[in-house]
């Protein structure tokens, strides 16, 4: 058992680093498919974290949550997204408004910002500041992706990343919410992605492109 405990603690300690790496890589990624994979990886890391926490706290609920993360976020959503990308038959690039280098730089700045911002809270509530910073950075990166990537699907991914960050924050600060709520949130998320998929298809059908920055009929 001790070995598990140790592994769990080790996972927790190192996962933040891995999360930062995924964040940076998403920012630099050029193809949608890469982003999806990275998102899945990110979710897998988080799932690992939950399992680790579950071991540390001997919580059955946490195992259920971890299972759901694996099921929904690591398997279901990414595969759905991949299928959508294939069926859309549009160019595989992310059509970023910023160059990969600049994106990387911006995300790096965001990570730094996240560290600065969370410090007072981490201290006040005796929380793992690295984890909290990771969560915040993921949220910020999600936002950044949504603002800077013109492809509709990338907005979905950005949203998912953002949501991931919030989920991670919840995990770090409060060790998750009550199970029913968590399940509800997962359900909502799944539905949300499905619905967005429907809309992406409709955009493709109606406009014959999936560039959201060109959806500018309605303004003023």
């Amino acid at each position: 058992m001790d070995l598990f405990q140790l592994a769990a603690a080790k996972t927790l300690a190192t996962s933040a680093v891995f999360l930062f790496i995924t964040v940076l890589m998403i920012a630099a990624a050029k193809r949608t498919a890469t982003c999806i994979t990275l998102f899945a990886a990110q979710c897998a890391i988080i799932a690992a974290q939950i399992i680790a926490l579950a071991f540390l706290h001997h919580s059955v609920e946490a195992f259920v949550v971890a299972a759901m993360v694996l099921l929904v976020k690591v398997i279901a959503i990414p595969s759905a997204l991949v299928r959508i990308t294939r069926r859309l038959k549009v160019s595989p690039t992310v059509s970023a408004s910023t160059s990969p280098g600049l994106s990387l730089f911006i995300v790096a700045v965001l990570i730094l910002l996240a560290f600065i911002v969370v410090q007072p809270y981490a201290r006040a509530f005796a929380l793992d500041s690295e984890m909290l910073a990771a969560a915040t950075a993921i949220v910020l990166t999600g936002g950044f992706l949504m603002v800077s990537r013109r492809k509709a699907l990338m907005q979905v991914i950005g949203l998912l990343v953002l949501e991931n960050g919030i989920f991670l924050a919840a995990l770090t600060t409060t060790f998750g919410m009550p199970l029913v709520i968590e399940m509800g949130i997962f359900f909502d998320l799944l539905m949300c992605v499905l619905l967005m998929g429907v809309f992406v298809f409709r955009i493709r059908e109606t406009f014959e492109h999936v560039d959201v920055s060109r959806l500018r009929r309605l303004r003023g």
């Binding site: 936002g143 603002v147 013109r150 959201v212 920055s213 959806l215 009929r217 309605l218």
Partner: protein, 655 residues
Amino acid sequence: MIEILFNSLLAGLLISPALTLLAFRSRIARHLPATVQLVALIAGASAALVVLVSNLRHTVDIYWLSPFPFTLAVDRLSAFFLLLICAVSVPVVLYSTAYIARHYSAQRQRWFWTLFPLFLLSMVLVVTADTAFAFLFGWELMTLFSAALVMLDGCEGERRRNLFIYLLMMHAGAAAVFGAFLGFLPNTGLLEFASLRASAPFLAPAMRTAIFLLAFIGFGTKAGIVPLHLWLPKAHPIAPSPVSALMSGIMLKTAIYGFIRVTFDLLGGGPAWWGYLALAAGAVSALLGVLYALSERDLKRLLAYSSVENIGIIYLGLGAALIFSAQQVPQWAALALTGALLHALNHALFKTLLFLGAGAISDSTHTLDLEKLGGLFQKMRVTGTIFLVACCSIAGLPLFNGFASEWLVFRTFIAGGDLPGAGASIVLLVAAGVLALVGGLAASCFAQLYSAAFLGRPRTQEAARAHDVPKPMQIAMALLAATCIVIGVAPSLAAGPIGAIAQQLVPGAVAIPASDLLFMPWVACFVVVAAAIWLLIPRISRITPTWACGMPGLNSRMQYTATALSKPLRKVFAAVYRPDRTVRTVPSDQPFFPASISYRSVRTTSFERSLYRPAVDSIVVAAKRLRRMQTGNIQVYLLYMFLALVAALICMRFV
């Protein structure tokens, strides 16, 4: 007794719209709504009279019905304005029975008879309201119903624009009125006038000032003081005549009522500069109003500008009253207030009459353009005589009612010469000069109006074919004209009771020396006898052609028109008008041998040009800038969200 009368007024005005909707299809019951309204109005007038005489206060409380305290109370001041509304509306209703039926389709008639009593009711609400909520409720309804009645004549093009300006300015004015009443709240929390009055002494001086200024602006907008008068010459002319009569004759007075109620009653007077402000507004309005009136050729617009002038005179009186009460001279304050109130009554009478007369003119000639009228007296003897009475009254000629009130205001200005402060004295005496100038200009203006419309030769076929209007319209106008003469000959009949109101409003005022007006009957007798003597002397008379320097073929185009008549005066006051003149010569390359020359002179008032346009333009420009922020790009929208979040987070540190 009062209770029954007042309640029957309210009930009558409330049920008559329903009656209209129910009974209008039947031929017999068609006149039922008008009859009910007449009865209700007479009941209301008698209720008001009873209150005026007996000084009993009567209240109706319908808080059980309304969400906020809603009380109607008739005290002396309310009773005066209630009397004004009811008494003046009686002839208007009578007039409308004939006028509306002659001019509108059955559907529009129904529309009129539904809204008209509601409009009256809203005005009754305003002047009898005893809580801020009731007042504002009535105040907003009044605008709404009047606008709906204005739309009776359709709303196309220019009319629509005018209506828009009317509603917009009224709404903005109402916002100020809201502010004025609610400004009392921090001190009392209650909406009843009694508690507002009680809380007034404890208001902070800044708040008192704010309330006064808001009331001044809010009620000033409704009353049409310059430069807030913009809507007045636009909205009044486009309404059907009975409605313009009510709007100009009565609705403007509700603003006077509101101003008096807030300033004199609720706030209980204030520093002298309030008075100077009102006085200045009055002087400017009176002068500019009459000057603009002088240059108008559209009869109704001319009358509307003349309303601005008369409201100016009322404000002169109110300003003087405020100055006197600030200087602790209550008896003169009361006299000035009496003058203002009497002028309000007089203006209601003669302006209603003039608008009804204008309705009669348009009824028989289908035009209101003074350049197209002329010689109507020959065809419309009764209307012509009545209209003359109205013109004399509004010109402030002795023996007619306009003189009595102007005389009172003059007297108070002269009394201002005895005030201790040099500033106050000079201001009041100068105001007397302004009033004199205004009086002179008004006399010229209405002499010109009357002679252009009624005397000389008809200028168009329509004018030549004019005929007098039906009996009900004549009777309605005759009633008003008779009242004008009665008050003109025996002003103390009206000035006495009004003096009692003023005495109540100005604390410390003693008996009013308005009894001086008792000599007017003697003057009247003298003038009438002196004029009538000559009728007894037998004279031989012969009808000859007009002298045309010995040439034949004098025609109507050789007469002076209204525009030509006022030319000398307009030339002297050219600085006020500043018209945009355009002369077009066709063909343009031969200026000395033109095929035709057209001359156009458009007058946009300088207020519109330099005050309203820039304000509206800047708002529109700001709106367009904001519109550009709404780019349509979802990424920008998301960015706004993130920025809003960041801004809120930063602000969090400081709150």
